[in-house]
Amino acid sequence: MRLKLRIWRQAGPTAPGRLEDYAADDISPDMSFLEMLDVVNEGLVRQGKDAIAFDSDCREGICGMCSLVVNGVPHGPDRGTTVCQLHMRRYKDGDTITIEPWRARAFPVVKDLIVDRSAFDRIIAAGGYVSVNAGGAPDGNAIPISKAIYEQAMDSAACIGCGACVAACKNASAHLFMGAKISQLARLPQGQVERASRVAAMVHQADAEGFGSCSNEGECEAVCPKEIPISNIARITRELVKAVWRGGE
């Protein structure tokens, strides 16, 4: 099939950007969305033109590197699917597809479709961990953890840190991302000691990075490739309240 593409091109962080038109010919329905872009890029490279820059690595929906807004939707139209797992059979001959980067104050564009998501790393650095050094851990079976708790912790831990939640949110809030980590660790016995300080530190860091607040619209949940529910966000509030209480004790 043949497609019309409108792709965001931006030479660098401070350069102005704009949508440019490209034709994608000979696209097979078996291609993934990123393979379709590879084909377009090969055409550009053959002509000695600058390839369209976009991030990807695992191409199987787990590393969180790919990050495209497709026709206004982060990761495109398929629910629970990263853009690297989206396939071209979803489109038909003659379609026009607009491709843009994540847009959020805390995710500045580096080039074309690539953004800087290091703010997420700094949120984790603020407290998204259990403070244990290597060596000296007790036996793995010392504390039994019920299957139900494990399943819930795992549901939250599935976050791939791609940032689609931020890109979809009109406030560019990082609450789903944070909520997932906070919930995972709050549910597990290992996460209890630092439960209060963790949530406070992460929320504080997110504010400092320029992420917005959460107004419960649920756009984040709708685009999350791992379908992490917004109940994880409610958890942040609960944990914060608890943290304040404990702080007062």
């Binding site: 030479a11 660098g12 329905p29 078996d30 993934s32 990123l34 590879d38 090969e42 490279v45 053959r46 000695g48 033109k49 600058d50 390839a51 820059a53 690595d57 695992c58 191409r59 199987e60 787990i62 590393c63 969180g64 590197m65 699917t81 797992q85 059979r89 580096v110 080039k111 690539i114 998501r117 290091s118 997420f120 790393d121 984790i124 650095a125 603020a126 998204g128 961990y129 259990v130 403070s131 244990v132 050094n133 290597a134 060596g135 851990a137 007790p138 793995g140 079976n141 039994p144 953890i145 019920s146 299957k147 494990y150 912790a153 795992m154 831990a157 599935a158 840190g161 660790l185 290992q190």
Partner: protein
């Protein structure tokens, strides 16, 4: 021929590591922060090393290609991680894990390293649980296990189908905690382009800042490479697309020997190639072979859809040839047989390069729901990619490159032949011999990073004079100039063909001639074709864009250029090893039943190659393998 000394400590195998730990020198706590250590790579090996060294108080600089350390290729591992916990009370032990690993590696690994790995495996699980890694639990709340190939006990720990992700996030979080404590500084979106060697010791690296294009220099007291495997040399593989051999190869050119490059692992159950556009292959867990039956049509060229092929016109070739193991033969055997039937013209699907993995019998036996419970997510992934419903029509699968056992040679302390350069994880060659067992790579990466390097590097630092050096030193200048020259050379070719064209062409040569089975003839052909392709690359590749900003074409071109060099060593190693072992199958060396036939008399050694200059034949060094514990025998799966 010079022999290599792995510096394995003396004494009985079970006590070697403890004794060695006692005998190694320590760095006084107050002095640790005076040492700067570079860790390249943030996969399981690199992240666990950098965080542990940070915890000890060293000043650590951590580098990776991705925008965040959390995205390293380790994140994609699905199945699980082995550990000799014996929680199932089914007869597992450190000794059994050690034994299985040596045997699984077809008696081509170093016993002392493997034993240590098995010992440390139990600590890994404890460490990860303490970090909050959500391993699967049974109904009593204890850790659950599954079984994996090459073992008769249940010792694989897992977190749904996302074990690598959860282990890596555990290590990443520990790493970020050290960033918070300012013992570790992160350098993401950096690609190591050279190792800096001063007075014979590794003292720094030169990297390209992938955001700005700048060539940057970093000095240190020691360098640790944890840069992963080289599977993408074959173009199509199950590895992440940015995986590369660049860091290891450039260290090799500076004097680090490259060991056993021909030991590559081909995984039998991947989703087949659908066309020229394909950029990577997706693994389907080998657990599927528990219930799926592998078959192809009996007749050559039978193009009927599978449901129209009657039972007696199907060839369940694994069940036919290996009645006792059937569909559960090891990875290498399953892969070779799939290739064989396709080479015979009996492959299925549009390309003829696939075999069926059929669940019809299993569905009849345990019902669609039973199958969905066991493999639901895999079936869904398969359908997403192929648009076929595997509940109704058999899956099509084909082998693909998955893992590389070869890597930079290291001694017992994980130090390469360049003093001060240590190599961890898939990037080294150490523990898996000629074939890695499932769920053992994650174990090795974390053992290296959490529990081996923190001890062995102290010994190096405490026993080596390390005068302060600055990045103005001539060696840094020379290395960064060389990196810049290579970049300019790539941009100056201004040819007509794409980088991907060359990568694909290289992949085809390697897959066809240095792939699942190799012959003297195919290797001679590969060794003639690779230099030709390299010539063409340097005359006709088109690398657009500028050197001084983010330029993915340039990054890719550099990696392919290194693969074009490295591939020759891979083929040469395969040519010199005129025996079959594990993943290395030389057609000339097989048993009467077509199984891999080792030649212990002539090839029971690690082949470590020394770089001798461009266009020069590398020099072979041997580390003889001694088996005091496990007696080498011929594998059989009949």
């Amino acid at each position: 021929m010079p022999q290599l000394d792995a510096r394995v400590p003396a004494g009985p195998i079970a006590g070697k590591w403890d004794r060695h730990k006692f005998e190694m020198k320590l760095v006084n706590p107050a002095n640790k922060r005076k040492f700067t250590l570079i860790v390249v790579g943030t996969g399981l090996a690199g992240a666990s090393a950098a965080s542990s060294l940070g915890e000890l108080g060293y000043n650590v600089l951590s580098f990776c290609i991705q925008d965040s350390p959390r995205r390293a290729h380790s994140i994609a591992a699905q199945g699980g991680i082995n550990a000799a916990k014996n929680y199932q009370n089914d007869g597992d032990s450190v000794y059994r894990l050690f034994y299985d690993t040596v045997k699984g590696g077809d008696y081509r690994s170093r016993e002392a390293n493997v034993y240590r790995l098995a010992q440390l495996s139990v600590n890994i699980i404890d460490q990860c649980v303490a970090q909050g890694v959500p391993f699967a639990r049974d109904y009593g709340g204890l850790l659950d296990n599954r079984s994996f190939g090459g073992a008769q006990v249940s010792r694989t720990f897992y977190a749904r189908g996302q074990t690598g992700q959860q282990l890596l996030l555990g290590a990443y979080q520990s790493l970020m905690r050290q960033v918070h404590h300012e013992t570790v500084t992160l350098f993401p979106r950096r690609e190591m382009l050279d190792l800096v060697v001063v007075d014979g010791r590794a003292r720094g690296i030169v990297v390209r800042n992938l955001k700005t294009g700048e060539i940057e220099r970093y000095a240190a007291d020691a360098v640790i490479l944890a840069t992963g495997g080289y599977g993408t040399a074959y173009y199509l593989s199950t590895n992440a697309v940015n995986s590369n051999v660049t860091a290891a190869w450039r260290a090799h050119k500076r004097g680090a020997y490259f060991a056993n490059p021909c030991y590559t692992q081909i995984h039998p159950t991947c989703i087949p190639v659908s066309g020229e556009h394909q950029s990577k292959l997706t693994l389907m867990s080998e657990s599927l072979r528990n219930d799926g039956r592998v078959w192809v049509p009996r007749k050559v060229g039978d193009r009927r859809p599978p449901e129209q092929i009657p039972e007696d016109e199907r060839d369940y070739y694994l069940e036919r040839k290996y009645p006792s193991f059937g569909n559960l033969v090891p990875r290498d055997v399953a892969s070779r047989n799939a290739k064989q039937v396709c080479d015979d013209g009996r492959g299925v699907g549009e390309t003829g390069l696939a075999v069926y993995l059929d669940f019809a019998d299993a569905i009849r036996r345990i019902g669609i729901e039973g199958i969905r419970d066991k493999y639901g997510n895999l079936f869904q992934m398969y359908q997403k990619i192929t648009d076929e419903n595997p509940y109704e029509t058999p899956m099509r699968i084909y082998p693909a490159i998955h893992y590389t056992m070869g890597g930079l040679w290291v001694d017992y302390n994980l130090m390469s032949t360049i003093p001060g350069l240590h190599v961890l994880g898939e990037a080294n060659f150490s523990d898996h011999g000629a074939n890695r067992l499932g769920a053992s790579a994650l174990m090795q990466g974390l053992a290296d990073g959490y529990f081996v390097i923190p001890y062995t590097i102290a010994d190096y630092l405490a026993s080596t004079p390390l005068p302060k050096i600055s990045t103005d030193h001539d060696a840094f200048k020379q290395a960064s100039d060389a990196a810049q020259r290579q970049i300019n050379a790539l941009l100056d070719v201004k040819g007509t063909r794409t980088i991907r064209h060359f990568h694909r062409a290289l992949g085809r040569i390697l897959w066809d001639d240095v792939g699942m089975s190799r012959t003297a003839e195919s290797l001679t052909r590969a060794l003639a074709e690779i230099p030709k392709l390299r010539e063409e690359f340097w005359h006709d590749v088109s690398v657009p864009g500028a050197p001084d900003n983010l330029n993915q074409s340039l990054e890719y071109a550099g990696r392919v250029a290194d693969y074009l060099d490295f591939a020759e060593l891979l083929a040469l190693d395969a040519q010199h090893r005129r025996e079959s072992c594990g993943g290395h199958f030389r057609e000339e060396s097989q048993t009467p039943d077509g199984e891999a036939l080792r030649d212990d008399e002539h090839f029971s050694y690690v082949a470590a190659w020394e770089y001798t200059g461009p266009g020069q034949r590398p020099e072979l060094h041997k580390e003889p393998l001694v088996f005091d514990e496990v007696h080498p025998t011929q594998r059989s799966y009949k």
